[in-house]
Symmetry: C2
Subunit: 394 residues, 2 copies
């Protein structure tokens, strides 16, 4: 398994493009194959999600995807559904495919009518930007950005020869239940849609659903996976799953570190949990805590906040069994072992401050209750988070 260049265009059978002249952007992707999708768990669901989920359930296939950034087309009622259908039919006509096989996705402000005239009048420009090279994938990755500061894409080639590539956006509003997080993943493996769906759900649970930026979830989150089959290879499911897990985990980490205003990636590893659900609850509770996030931003060695966040996570735990360490690169500082504070002297706190100064800070919590583990990713809470969100629509 190795990382390769090219993003989604590293996958045979994928053409992509996109434009982002201002707040609004359009990405277009053409790729024919079996398909699967994972959608937000928010009870307010944007029109494009309703449309895409319904069509995907019916056909199990996609021929292409159209995405706009700048307007979520959420909480827009019947008009929103009509506008999502318009987006699908506009791309279907350009590609000469059935509009039932077009996925539609939106991200941006909630509760405002989508400007379909703008999309219609700019679509040709997006089509003209389409290509099969790395630059084309990058154009699509850029077109779906909102408050993201970097485009997110990745591709791998597995030993069997199959490739998996993905682009994603997400920054702010990211949560375990998938905050405004969009991901479009492609593979040239031959896999029927039922197996694709199962692999995607499993991979999302370990990756996107373990990213926390601010605890909010959006009505627009979706991850779509299309298998073009153009490699001619039908991989073993376990093998494909491991590749898909890697692709989604790498994208998830890119999303976490690009959290609004973030200056560093926080990785929260939980081991020794009685159940996988407990492990996930604790891992996410720690990276979700605004107190933990702002302490790491300020390199404040106030590690007690980690224990407090574990305590209110809802997971089964016992304060006399918990162990806690921080690490960054090869530096490790062990603070608590089986409920006992090992040391809390100036030297230890100063080593902890130094670890907190790194770009990637890992918090390792062992619950001492069993053998399950999980990892969650988040970012620090900074002045810039407040600045970005205090002034988003204006």
């Amino acid at each position: 398994m190795k990382f390769i260049e090219g993003g989604i265009c590293a996958v045979k059978g994928v053409r992509a493009g996109g434009i982002k002249p201002g707040k609004m952007g359009i990405a277009v992707i053409q790729a024919e194959g079996s398909a699967a999708g994972v959608f937000t768990r928010n009870k307010v669901i944007a029109a494009p999600l309703m449309l895409t989920r319904e069509r995907l359930a019916k056909t199990g296939r996609l021929s292409g995807v159209i995405v706009n950034s700048g307007n979520a087309n959420a909480f827009t009622g019947e008009q929103g559904m009509a506008d999502a259908r318009t987006m699908a039919s506009l791309l279907a006509r350009k590609l000469g495919v059935d509009e039932e096989l077009i996925g539609v996705s939106s991200t941006g402000v909630v509760g405002r009518k989508l400007d379909t005239d703008w999309i219609s009048s700019h679509l040709q420009e997006a089509m003209d930007s389409m290509g099969k090279d790395a630059a084309a994938s990058m154009r699509a990755a850029r077109a779906i950005m909102t408050t993201d500061t970097i485009p997110k894409e990745i591709a791998i080639e597995m030993e069997s020869g199959i490739r998996i590539g993905g682009i994603a956006k997400g920054s702010g509003m990211i949560e375990p239940n998938m905050g405004t997080m969009l991901a479009f993943i492609y593979t040239d493996a031959q896999i029927p849609s039922k197996e694709l769906q199962s692999c995607l759900t499993t991979a999302v649970d370990k990756s996107f659903n373990m990213v926390v930026v601010d605890g909010d979830t959006s009505c627009n989150d979706m991850a779509l996976l299309t298998a073009t089959g153009s490699s001619g290879i039908s991989p073993g499911i376990a093998d494909f799953q491991s590749g898909l897990d890697l692709v989604l985990t790498e994208l998830a980490k890119m999303i976490a570190v690009d959290g609004e205003g973030a200056t560093k990636l926080i990785e929260s590893k939980v081991t020794g949990a009685a159940t996988i659900e407990d492990a996930r609850l604790v891992a996410k509770s720690i990276v979700r805590s605004p107190l933990v996030k702002s302490a790491i931003f300020g390199k404040d060695p106030n590690w007690g906040r980690i224990v407090v966040a574990a305590g209110y996570s809802g997971a089964n735990m016992d304060q006399t069994k918990i162990s806690l360490s921080f690490s960054a690169g090869s530096e490790v500082v062990e603070l608590v072992r089986s409920g006992k504070v090992l040391r809390n002297d100036e030297e230890t706190l100063s080593r902890l401050k130094s670890i907190m100064g790194n770009d990637e800070v890992c918090i390792i919590t062992d619950l001492g209750m069993g053998h399950e583990s999980a990892t969650a990713w988040g970012c620090d809470l900074t002045y810039d988070y407040v600045r970005i969100n205090a002034d988003y629509t204006t």
Copy 2:
């Protein structure tokens, strides 16, 4: 029912005092009577809570309370239990009462040994500051502060003649499950401890448990209620409950508006819920959302975030039935009625911005699902929140 001066010292039979020379502080309160307590739901529980909860369950009475600020005495193991017992016995000796009847409470940094020598050597000074007047109540209210910017106290006199007074601290780490929130409430009513406990639990559910500052909960939160009985009056329980609800709700609002770095109070009223649990979930989800909180700080009229927060609250809801308004004072702007956006033009958004500019902003969400309602309180998310928490222990 009327508000009166004097805080806890407005209640006959209460003597109080406190000192806060630096980061550490000591408050002492003497009041003999039946008593009740509500404690944190965090699974990590500080030593003073374990001690006080155990003793209260045994005796149903309190003779006094000692509180220190600056160190939470949490996650401190057996040593922490010994230190909490030491605090109780120090005050018991000074007051000449049974140490089993002393409540102990702490707030501050987690995971550090409590400096009982400091407490021991400063206790006499705190005792010397005790009195029965308004200034004495205020000294106790100040002594328990941590990142609080204003002391919090209130007192009322009811028509029956009984009085209820309380002091509280809480700022940051406040959550529905009670973040580092301490409250000491006194009444001169005659009420047995069993009824007191039931009234306190009910009042806490409507007040402190509906305050959200940052979503974290602490291992130290407690509310203690002592009834000295010195009025000689045994009030009807419903009558007493209404007074207690008022006292706790006013303290809860003071805590919300003094959230770390907060510039305004956000009140989230939810009506039309199918169940009281749904109403509470939605009300709290809205005031907990960092996106909503930072939008209100920046007067960004991005009301879609309210609907999104309702959607992920876990409550039963239907996006075609929800209605949404904002108000402040006598100004009201109605944005959504039964799932339909009423208007989203420049004039409406500019009226919304103007409402958001007030010190108290009320968000009214009607779910259109039933007849239950709830109110939660929170504050905006500001640059100062980040500043305070990035640099707490250092």
